[in-house]
């Protein structure tokens, strides 16, 4: 499962007051790769993630997922892609407040009319060390438990790509590590993960890191380490100054 982005630009704002947020970004990922995107606030990380995942249409350039062009993709096809291959994990826990934890996990299966194996879901949640009740609503769960539900949803639907936007941003340090470890395990098992983060420590544990600034990829670091990423960030700052 590959993501291919070619010269992606994104312009926002009204006529006469337009700002180009992304300036022609090229990107490729492959199955089982854990890619992190880092950069200062306002550098265009989230916009890039949204363009890559089909949540937002790029102004120009193309994005392909598994050779399927996302530009002008029909609403029905993108919906199918979202319930079969792509999963999202956001900082603001993208769970539906109306559904219980269990219903949130199995929602993509229900939408695509697949059979639900309750026992398997309970086993999965045990393996994720989920302590709360699956009948509880998201509002009754802690931040860490909510992110576990989002991860369980990705696992249950056997997502091939996970787009994560600051997935541990609102969590305490223990939950942060548990969630990150889960994502790492998923990548090791063949899932492609694209994660936007501010946390250099976490980015250092991914397979590849992109340093973004002002809508451009300033550096690309394979097998990143913390010192490497810090120096890449500093060099980016110097280059801008």
């Amino acid at each position: 499962m590959k993501i291919m982005a070619n010269k992606v630009t994104k312009v926002m704002g009204n006529k006469g007051n337009q700002i180009e947020i992304l300036h022609g970004i090229d990107l490729q990922t492959s199955s089982g790769e854990f890619l992190s995107i880092i950069g200062p606030s306002g550098s265009g990380k989230t916009t890039l993630l949204k363009c890559l995942s089909g949540l937002v249409q790029p102004t120009s350039g193309t994005v392909k997922i598994d050779n399927q062009l996302l530009n002008n993709i029909s609403e029905r096809k993108i919906a199918k892609l979202r319930r079969t291959k792509i999963s999202y994990i956001f900082q603001s826990y993208n769970l539906l407040p109306a559904l219980s934890a269990f219903d949130n996990i199995v929602l993509p299966l229900r939408l695509s009319r697949q059979r639900i194996n309750k026992t398997k879901i309970y086993q999965l949640m045990n393996s994720l060390n989920f302590k709360a009740d699956l009948k509880q609503l998201p509002a009754e769960l802690s931040g860490g438990e909510q992110q576990k539900v989002a991860i369980a949803r990705a696992l249950t639907m056997k997502a091939e790509i996970i787009f994560a936007d600051e997935p541990t941003g609102a969590l305490d340090s223990t939950s942060r590590q548990i969630i990150f470890d889960q994502l790492r395990q998923l990548a090791d098992s063949g899932v492609c993960i694209v994660m936007v983060t501010h946390d250099i420590g976490q980015a250092a544990q991914t397979d590849r890191a992109l340093v973004l600034n002002d809508g451009q990829v300033m550096a690309e670091v394979n097998h990143p380490t913390e010192p490497l990423l810090i120096s890449a960030m500093n060099e980016t700052k110097k280059a801008i100054i």
Binding site: L55, S74, E75, R76, A79, K80, L81, R82, R83, T84, Y88, N94, L96, P97, A98, L99, D103, L107, P108, R110, L111, S112, R153
Partner: protein, 432 residues
Amino acid sequence: MIRLGLLQFKSSIKMWLTGIFVFIVYGWLISFCLTGAVTLEKELSSQQNNPLPIFVMPMFFGGITLFFVISNVIKTIVNELSDEYRMWMFLGADSRQISIIIAVQLSLVGFIGSCLGYIVMLFSIDSIYNTLQNFIGKVWLPEVNFKIIPMLFVIVNLLSIMICFLSGVLNSKKILKIRSTGKYFKLIIQVVVSVGFIVSSVKIILISSRTESGRSLFLVLFWMILFQIYLGQDLIKILAKIGRLLLPENCGSTGNLAIQQTSVNASKIRDDLIPIIVVQTIIYGLIELLFGLSDPNNMDMKNIVVSFIIYVDAPLIIVIANTVSVAMLKQPEQYENFGQLSRIGFTRGMLIHERSEEILFNSCLLFIVSLISNIFLYFIVRDHLINAFNTMIIIDLPLMVSGLIFVVLVVMETCNILIWYDKNLNKNKIEL
């Protein structure tokens, strides 16, 4: 999907029930009409005038009105819950699935509304029937005893659920902008309606006999209503822009803000105005037809009352109920706006002043569009209108409608502001 719709309804029940008023009114209307029609059918003898249309037609016209105006209720609720519906889409729900989720919830509100409406009907049917008897007479409406018919309760609920479900599916697709063919479909409808309206208007101008022009006026009225529904929004948009340009640059602090607010809320205002303009046009058209084109020597007042009951009462009741429902649904949004304005120094008086100016601008728009419609209807048949037809009605009716809307909305907004202030003052006291 039905189960997911039920779960979503459980979570947003408060929001849906805030807009239930229009559904209760519709439930009451169809319960009343069905009970009346079924009971009278049993009592009818062949010599009498047939009163069934008085009960059957309002049900039909009420249903059509509800089908169209309900989109305003859905739009307000979907806007309030837009984050949730966007999330449904992120998680893989397609347009059909989301529209079913919304339609299931709307059907539930329709069901609850029609149950409550039926109960209200049980208590009100005798007094309303007596009032109708006083207007129309016992020849048309004989003495009858209304009884509870359980089957009618089921039919009322089924009718309400069916209209709500269909309207939910069709309107939610339009509101969520997930119908890819919507733009072209709308354009085709606009062209067809414009052609129909122009052709029927030209035809009526060329007619020489009064009787024929009376018949043709019905057709013009039909096309004009469609024209107002499908093109009225664009025309109001242009008129509002001209209105804002004509106003002086400095209208005072509250006046300037009121004009800005009307510009920001333009699309919502247009949605609210169209149903009122349509009902006003129907009333004027009927007045012109029944008083202006009828022979004054053979004018039957009872027949006129019956015609008004058949064509106007149901749409009028549903449009008023819808205006109340939408106003109630917009309360949270209003409260947020009051909070913002009060934080930057608006007093209670200034808020009431600003809101009144905003409503005045919209009422003027309503008046102008209604006036244009009436003048048009007057001019196409002016050669056939009898002398007794009072042309002042062209101005009086829109003035009455827009004046009434102005007064009702100002009273509602003032109450809203006072309640909000009261709540906030109490909250501040508790916090202190």
